[in-house]
């Protein structure tokens, strides 16, 4: 079981969903804080959902306030980076770039992509955590090879 968990995790890294930072978080987990990573992830998804909806509203309004959008995205990027959400982070960067040049169409496109990546990651992580809990105490962070 644990092996399965490890494999899933490995694949997340390999596919680029997660990066080194996630490993850092895992290293913070210990007996005293056995579910730290999951807690952080939960918090992240909750907070980022809020940000996403803010951005969505801002975009729907039609008037592209790039500054504000960029601000939201900066926050979003910050959190995503902190938990190691690699693909999400990439989309954030792209979005900000579009904001910078004032490309509304690009923003919209990227945002769609970003939401998709975000949802995908969420699902995968949920799966992962669930399995991990079932598997019981597992090895903590092992850097992906």
């Amino acid at each position: 079981m644990q092996r399965q968990v490890a494999l899933i995790k490995q694949s997340l890294f390999d596919q680029g969903y997660l990066d080194e930072q996630f490993v850092e978080l895992e290293e913070l987990q210990d007996d005293a804080n056995p579910n730290f990573v999951e807690e952080v992830a939960t918090l992240y998804f909750k907070d980022s959902a809020r940000l996403i909806s803010n951005i969505e509203q801002a975009l729907e309004r039609g008037s592209f306030d790039f500054n504000r959008l960029d601000n939201y995205m900066h926050q979003f990027k910050g959190s995503s980076t902190s938990i190691g959400a690699s693909k999400v982070k990439t989309e954030c960067t792209m979005f900000r770039e579009y904001c910078r040049v004032g490309n509304a169409e690009g923003c919209l496109r990227t945002f769609k992509q970003l939401k998709k990546e975000h949802a995908t990651l969420r699902k995968k992580l949920e799966q992962y955590f669930q399995l991990a809990r079932q598997a019981g105490p597992k090895e903590t962070a092992r850097r992906p090879k």
Binding site: E24, L28, A32, D47, T81, I83, G84
Partner: protein, 631 residues
């Protein structure tokens, strides 16, 4: 919220591997501020893993109020740059000014401009997100460094011992286990360091005595007494008698005197440079004090400082800028003093144009070279801008120690600008007296008579004797006056080293020491003001020559960029140069430049530069045990 003093963080485990020995840095009290809950959670976890005592906060306002309520409750602050309710840099400035704690900035933004902003505002470090735990493991160094700078008596002496020991953020802080150990170690250190002076050695074994706050008035009294006795002949005992302040001990006076002397010395040396520098800065830059200008001056200074670039080069530069031959200043001042001043000057946040010593010797008029018009202009009209800028900077950067408030920082004083100037003025005028410049700047000991008070324009009534930074509006103004009137204070024109004489604001952080070196050098740095830097440069250059080593020390401390900004609006220029110098020489001053213009600190800083042994360091670095001795 303060964690109860316990040496260890939540995790049991040995901090730093020391069991019996000092568990430092475990128990370091960190306040982390970030609006992103995910990051906040992660940081908290990481910091706890480092065995620090963590307090997290998601709003800057809350953080500030926490800090204000528990003045000595934290050792270091980590803050995000982008926050909805308050810009991280603003928080940085406030903390630097009011609490004088080291602040680390962090952000996902790694663009150079933002990082530079962090530096100029006085952040002791800048972390790029995602933050790794390794980066957090070493943040304690900033606390130590800051304290060290405060205590350093002499550049060489270094509080080598200090490195090992970390001082608690606050001398007065209550004792936690760690604190106890730290404090004692610190005291030990101080003892060693101070010993040089030989005056009374404080009984380090005892807990820190309440620090004496050298308010403006107190300092003025001090200076008056000293002048009456003769700077060279003044002895603590007599000064004490003359001052006749209940509760003040001879040791307090001795220590203060030591610092003062260093300051004076420094002013002497600095004045020249300052003048030159100022000029260049002033002219070169407009009130905006772009970092650029300062950088230029800065570099020079830095070089000078660091490498001890011959002051001449700096001076030359300045001269070029000023189109004046760098005149070294004050004939009256002993060379020593000059150096001190110079050193200090840069430190002085005031950076602003050097303070023309009031009257007297023009020599260094920092601003001499600089067309006075400039200054006044700057200050007056332009100055206003500058001041404003400075103020902004100050305010932005950090609330200059509460004391300084008036100075440059957003001083309510009508003359915000004047503040800056005042500082400078103070610096200059204070040379001989030093105390005067009330303007927050810790004006370097007035030794530099030559320093012309640049701010003549502003001539506000700077309390002459008061140490810089009188927060009171009057003070700020006074800065100028002082400068003008007093005999050329050492070039301290620039942001006087934050002598927190005023300590109007509870200095908690005080560690008075901070202001010493830190203020001096640092102040300047923070300011972007070119003028400040200019002023600074001149002073710094002089300093450099002499107090190179000192500078190193000071610089480190001083570069609290923030403080600088605060200090002098104009001083920024100066500061910058100083900063640069410092950076070059020393690691960026962690201290935000202690806004607190603790006189003691200033003095210590000055003294340190000189390498004079502090007379008594009873205070760990607060210097004076008495707190806020009513004057």
């Amino acid at each position: 919220m303060l964690n109860p003093g316990q040496g260890r963080g939540p995790d049991s485990g040995v901090a730093g591997g020391s069991s019996n020995s000092d568990p430092f840095p475990a128990g370091l009290r960190v306040l982390v501020v970030d609006d992103d809950p995910t990051c906040l959670m992660i940081l908290e976890r990481m910091l706890r893993t480092c065995l620090y005592r963590v307090t997290k906060c998601n709003r800057a306002e809350i953080a500030l109020s926490l800090l204000r309520k528990n003045k000595n409750g934290f050792d270091i602050v980590i803050s995000d740059v982008h926050m909805p309710d308050m810009d991280g840099f603003k928080l940085l400035e406030h903390v630097g000014l009011e609490m004088d704690l080291p602040v680390i900035m962090m952000s996902a933004d790694d663009s150079k401009s933002v990082v530079l902003k962090g530096v100029t505002h006085g952040a002791v470090d800048y972390l790029i997100k995602p933050v790794r735990i390794e980066a957090l493991k070493n943040i304690w160094q900033h606390v130590v460094r800051k304290k060290r700078n405060e205590w350093n008596v002499s550049e060489h002496s270094g509080s080598v011992e200090e490195t090992g020991q970390r001082e608690d953020g606050d001398n007065n802080s209550s004792s936690a286990n760690n604190e106890g150990s730290w404090r004692s170690s610190r005291k030990r250190k101080e003892e060693e360091v101070d010993e040089q002076g030989g005056d009374d050695k404080e009984d380090t074994s005892s807990l820190k005595k309440p620090r004496v706050v050298w308010s403006v008035e107190l300092h003025q009294q001090f200076v008056a007494a000293v002048n009456q006795l003769g700077v060279d002949k003044a002895v603590p005992k007599k000064i004490l008698e003359m001052m006749n302040v209940p509760g003040l001990t001879r040791e307090n006076v001795a220590s203060h005197l030591q610092k003062y002397r260093i300051y004076l010395r420094r002013l002497g040396g600095v004045s020249q440079h300052q003048g030159n520098m100022n000029h260049s800065f002033m002219t070169g830059q407009d009130p905006s004090f772009g970092p650029l200008s300062t950088l230029n001056g800065f570099d020079l200074q830095a070089l000078a400082a660091a490498g001890q670039l011959p002051a001449q080069s700096l001076a030359q530069l300045q001269a070029a800028g000023l189109a004046r031959p760098p005149s070294l200043s004050k004939p009256g001042m002993s060379v020593d003093q000059r150096s001190i001043f110079s050193f200090e000057n840069p430190k002085i946040r005031h950076g602003q144009m050097m303070n023309s010593g009031g009257g007297g010797n023009k020599q260094m008029n920092l601003l001499h070279g600089v067309p006075m018009g400039m200054e006044p202009r700057q200050f007056a009209g332009g100055g206003q801008m500058r001041v404003q800028q400075q103020q902004q900077q100050l305010s932005g950067g950090r609330a200059v120690g509460q004391n300084v408030q008036s100075s440059g920082m957003m001083m309510p004083v009508g003359g915000g600008p004047s503040m800056l100037q005042q500082q400078q003025v103070m610096l200059s005028s204070s040379v001989p007296r030093r105390s005067e410049t009330s303007s927050g700047s810790r004006v370097l000991p007035a030794a530099a008579t030559t320093q012309s008070v640049v701010f003549n324009n502003f001539s506000s009534e700077l309390p002459r004797n008061s140490f810089p930074l009188a927060n009171a509006p009057g003070i700020s103004v006074s800065y100028q006056e002082e400068v003008n009137s007093s005999d050329a204070k050492g070039g301290a024109g620039f942001g006087n080293p934050s002598y927190d004489i005023f300590n109007d604001y509870p200095q908690q952080y005080n560690n008075n020491n901070d202001w010493d070196l830190q203020n001096i050098g640092m102040v300047f740095n923070s300011h972007q003001d070119t003028t400040a830097s200019a002023a600074f440069s001149s002073s710094s250059s002089t300093q450099r020559t002499r107090a190179e080593h000192v500078q190193n020390h000071h610089q480190q401390q001083q570069f609290p960029s923030q403080s600088l900004n605060h200090m002098n609006g104009g001083g920024s220029v100066r500061v910058k140069s100083e900063r640069v110098a410092e950076t070059v020489t020393c690691p960026p001053a962690t201290t935000l430049f202690q806004e607190q213009y603790n006189q003691e600190d200033l003095m210590s800083a000055l003294l340190k530069q000189e390498g004079l042994p502090l007379v008594d360091n009873e205070f760990d670095f607060d210097g004076y045990s008495l707190d806020n001795i009513p004057v």
